[in-house]
């Protein structure tokens, strides 16, 4: 029997910056609508992993396929157009463009044929409603509070109608209530839209409660890839990550 084609197939992905191995030999498979968490201490290579999976940093070696298509070494706009959307650790928005226009921008450049016959403005409004920013649609994005900017970044990323969404510490700096809101939003995105999500978070609590699977990075290497309850019992993980935190 033929095995179903995974949405994302990362094989032996490595990134070096000069003498520094930021990421070494990470291998990963992800299916449609799967929700994967990525954790690891500071400097574990989490953000480099996202950079390599969105064309921002070309991998030094290894391959990356999306729905069977090899995207290794392609520029960022190709990833976006093929359906890989991402957010950044520090929200990156398009200047003082109004909130709605930021989402429209993403729909116009990133969605392409995935937009189908839908009206871009209606889709943009629907996305803003989904993340709870409808009331701010016509305000400059720079006027949003930090939590609002993170939500807008998610709406903007969804504007490209992604098949895979990469979320980089979207809950960082948020209050407990806001973290809960973002977690349920992430779960809903996966269920309602059928989008596969890879979610990096430094604070692991909310993440472990939400995801199906966890990939643990340490010094650029994947030291575990398993269900949350297995990962928290994994000796290497406890030693490298949770142990390090318990010690501080």
């Amino acid at each position: 029997m033929l095995e179903a084609l995974p949405l994302l197939e990362v094989r032996d992905l490595s990134v070096r910056f000069g003498g520094l191995r930021a990421l070494s030999g990470v291998t990963l498979r992800l299916c449609d609508a799967e929700l994967l968490g990525v954790i690891g201490p500071n400097g574990a290579g989490k953000t480099t992993f996202f950079h390599a999976m969105s064309g921002v940093v070309p991998p030094t070696s290894g391959r990356l396929r999306l729905a069977g298509e090899d995207l290794t070494g392609r520029p960022p706009h190709v990833y976006a157009r093929r359906g890989v959307a991402r957010t950044f650790q520090t929200p990156r928005l398009l200047g003082e463009l109004p909130v709605l226009d930021q989402v429209l921008f993403a729909i116009r450049f990133g969605a392409g044929r995935r937009l189908g016959k839908d009206d871009p403005r209606q889709l943009a409004h629907a996305l803003l409603r989904r993340v709870g920013l409808s009331a701010q649609a016509h305000r400059p994005a720079t006027e949003l509070p930090p939590a609002g900017q993170r939500l807008l970044e998610i709406a903007v990323a969804l504007g490209t109608r992604p098949r895979l969404l990469l979320l980089d510490e979207v809950a960082a700096g948020l209050t407990e209530a806001e973290v809960a809101q973002v977690s349920s939003l992430i779960a809903a995105i996966r269920h309602e839209l059928g989008v596969a999500v890879i979610w990096i978070e430094h604070a692991v609590g909310a993440l472990l409660r939400t995801v199906d699977r966890v990939l643990v990075l340490h010094h650029g290497e994947a030291i575990a890839d398993a269900a949350p309850r297995e990962v928290v019992r994994n000796a290497r993980v406890l030693d490298a990550y949770l142990g390090a935190e318990a010690a501080t």
Binding site: H77, R92, G95, L97, Q122, L123
Partner: protein, 330 residues
Amino acid sequence: MTRGALLLAAVAALAALPWLASPFLLSLAMACLMYAGLAVSWSFFSGPSRYLSLGVSAFFGLGAYCSAWGLPALPWPAALLLGAAIAAAFATAVGLLTLRLSGAQFAVITFGLGELVKYAVTWVEKSLFGTVGRIVADPPQDRTVYLTLLVLAVSAALAYRAVARSRLGLALRGIGADELRAATLGVDARQARVMGFALSAAFAGAIGAAASVRWTYVDPRTAFDPFIVFQTVLIAMVGGPARLGGPVAAAVALTLLAELLRLRLPYLYMIVLGTLLVLSVLFLPDGLSGLWAARRGTPRLNEPAPEPGDPAPGRPVSMAPPAARGPDHA
């Protein structure tokens, strides 16, 4: 009368000027048109993308040499088109070479490459022809040059509006706001940068081909004069590149000021220019037109007007992509 009709009437009045004005006034009007065209075409690329191009003198000079070498063998429109094509080709090469550079590096490189072209042309003239500089053989009449510059300035204004409303213009704005973010949302930043830069250069090349014939003698020092780029950038920044009216009004005001002051009080002119530049960079990031619009509450031309409220309830839109999510953007 509507705004469009007013503009048409203004262009018609300008077109009648050669038959009404004195040669001195006509020459002033030509300088105004030349700088209006240069500043407007500079603005539609460097304004939204924030890539400060200092290559205007190079493009202008290449255009000037096209008509100096080509006339009278080439018909007048062909000399202009050649100027536009060569300037655009040079800009494409520069654009491809500078893809990895950031804004400040881009400014330095475009200026440096302009100087390089100037000395390359000097060297070619010296080694091939033995002399540097050439007389423009059989230049067209002032009336023809004036009307040509008017057509070029109006075309630059139309191109400005077209770019501002196009996908290219939106891409350039995204690049100016955050290039990496724009790229991760699907903008082919390389393509947009090179296309915008080449289109802007084509106008500078054509304007150089048209305006330089008035000098009757063209040499690298005058054709590639850095004053041209400084004046162009100043006009665009003082006027404000985000609105078409900004560079146009500033081109007229500063060109007239230049002509009035430059001969009698050259230092005063440079002091006024310098002060205006410092003031507009420090206090008016959108130039004088930005200040004007902020008082009247008008949006920028290249800013889509917000539509009040949510869209009328129509066909329900799912946030999910259409069922068949096959390969896209083939």
